[in-house]
Symmetry: C2
Subunit: 146 residues, 2 copies
């Protein structure tokens, strides 16, 4: 019976950690005029290059409607372009603009700083262990849900 309480605490702690870290990220990004959800998209585009919205959704495990909203905001700010895909006229390729590439390093530094600050209270071995545990759990959960 005791393990049910452990489960409860585990989910509670997971939830708190996620909220706390995304709040910290948003605070750090605010002076740059960006939100966490926007940064996630910019980060993926920088690494992967041009992607369709569907591919972005699949990569970030986000449904299509919030992705549309995030991208429309990035378009309005001039950091991203929607390009009509050649073959399939339904899909839109999303790519970073010159403006985004110019600012990217500044954004990246801010994010790396806040990430480092959030994690510097944990020894690197614990960070690695935490990541390994979280990652294998997530993989197992997603495997079961395909």
């Amino acid at each position: 019976m005791e393990f049910m309480i452990i489960h409860h605490q585990l989910f509670h702690t997971l939830h708190q950690l996620s909220r706390h870290t995304t709040n910290q990220l948003n605070d750090a990004l605010k002076p740059l005029g960006l939100y966490g959800s926007q940064w996630a998209v910019l980060f993926v585009l920088k690494r992967k290059g041009s992607l369709t919205q569907k591919e972005l959704c699949d990569y970030l495990f986000v449904e299509a409607p919030p992705m549309t909203r995030t991208i429309q905001r990035l378009v309005k700010q001039g950091y991203v372009r929607q390009v009509q895909g050649g073959r399939d006229k339904r899909e839109k390729y999303i790519e970073l603009t010159e403006a985004a590439l110019l600012e990217y390093h500044k954004w990246e530094k801010v994010v790396n700083d806040v990430n480092g600050e959030l994690l510097n209270c944990l020894p690197p071995s614990s960070q690695q262990e935490l990541f390994t545990l979280q990652n294998s759990w997530l993989q197992l959960l997603l495997k079961g849900r395909d």
Copy 2:
């Protein structure tokens, strides 16, 4: 430089896990007419008894406005009562109703089942280790922010 990528992946995985598990919880609660945020309040009230809204906020690390909303919804559903506090007329004590106490065991079983299902792909030792790591990280983060 490599650790920045690990950091990024760690936060990404944390975020995904939190979203996935709260989505699963909400799916499981839907047939009962409850949301995850409501369950969190009901759970604390069952354990701790009558609490003020401020105490609930402090316990769940949630700001006052969302707590007001969640409680108002629970009041409307008849699962919770707001009682004007005796000494301080600003504060409102929140307590479970008879209706909530009657349903509680059913809710608890549903939540325990979904929690168990989400965690049964991880061996208990990993669950314990994950909880310990998450918890110590959260404690360190909150200690720094007081």
